[in-house]
Subunit: 219 residues, 2 copies
Amino acid sequence: MLSTMKRRQGNTQEPKRDKQKSMQKLLHSVGAILQKDGYKALKANNIAAHAKLDKKLIYNYFGSLGGLIDAYLKKNDFWKKTEAITEKVPLTDLKPDTVVEILKGQFLFLENSVEMQHIILWELCEKNPLLRDILEERERFGEQLFQLSDKYFKGTSVNFRAINALLVSAIYYIILHARYNNNTICGVSTTTEKGREQLFKAIEQIINWCYREAAEERK
Amino acid sequence: MLSTMKRRQGNTQEPKRDKQKSMQKLLHSVGAILQKDGYKALKANNIAAHAKLDKKLIYNYFGSLGGLIDAYLKKNDFWKKTEAITEKVPLTDLKPDTVVEILKGQFLFLENSVEMQHIILWELCEKNPLLRDILEERERFGEQLFQLSDKYFKGTSVNFRAINALLVSAIYYIILHARYNNNTICGVSTTTEKGREQLFKAIEQIINWCYREAAEERK
DNA sequence: AATATAAGTCACCCATCGGTGACTTGCGAA
DNA sequence: TTCGCAAGTCACCGATGGGTGACTTATATT
């Protein structure tokens, strides 16, 4: 006992057989593969090879391939990643500029997060209760934001939630579309800086129209 | 010779070995499977089983599984299916109501065409030159429409193409999303009649804002 | 009726998939 | 130092994937 303690503390070498570390490696490999090749590449052989472990360990530790992937999805709260966007903006009011900033932030975040793209694509392609949980969490967070905007639109003809649903959906589709099809949508390039500016400006305009319309009706 | 002719004409039975018919069967099965189970189910064994033919014929007639699928995509001009939506509307002018009708039509058509949903999903998931061709054809057709709207928006701050790019993208995403996730987006249900009405109204409002803004700026 | 050829059938190849039983080996406790 | 057990290895399973060689059979021509 003393000898093993000594050896562990004496040199920095870690034990070669560490269940916890192996589990972490597998979970990490799920994320890496998801990011690199998408959810379709999440195969037992792939993951084990990436983690440089035997695939048997997937079944020893997580029961099944699905168990490992579920564990990965549970561990990483993806909605929190999107929540981080709104950390800089104040959460007391929801002025037009703030809304536009949040939507732009969503666009830029999603554009840079290949992993998030794959998860959204995954949600569109397959029925998975865990993926639905992620979506519902995201909805709950969004609802908090919308409650701040209610004072502007209550009693007006502007359905601010519906308009944002359209804009958020548009952002999602456009980014997914741009992954493999670098052509245009309605003549607007989705991959160039110029096209993105056009889209941003359109979003800004729509949001401003919402607030203007609501203000006019309330006069 | 006479005997065979007689047999063919005498009874209505067709020859059992008909290359053209077998090819048609295979092509038709591609469509049927695509509609029923999506592009992921387009396997050689599946298609052959559905057509009640040996899978060898796929390779005899089309060279490969990909060749068969490509032949199917070439045969069916999918953009023409979406074009049919606009057949009822006049193509001389593009008033707000007409644009709204076209967008609503896109929504309803896509909602009912499972095959089209699968093709759009396919476009998002995989790189395929033939699928890109379909998209480009669709773009060319859309551009014809937008040229009719230029007189309203030229020289104004309204980028009508960008706003329509957002709305069309939103429609696509919302319908794909609704396939497996019957929850809400930004609090708006995507599967109920009520939610759809909210979205339609929002689309209508945005389009009207475009024309109003352009008219005001031109005064 | 005989025959050449195209149409269609069938068994089989190899790669990959998720998953497992039986084995070996390193670690920690006594 | 010994020893039990968990950690890890490895060969292998059945199912399924795309694809093919060699065979049989129907059909049109002579």
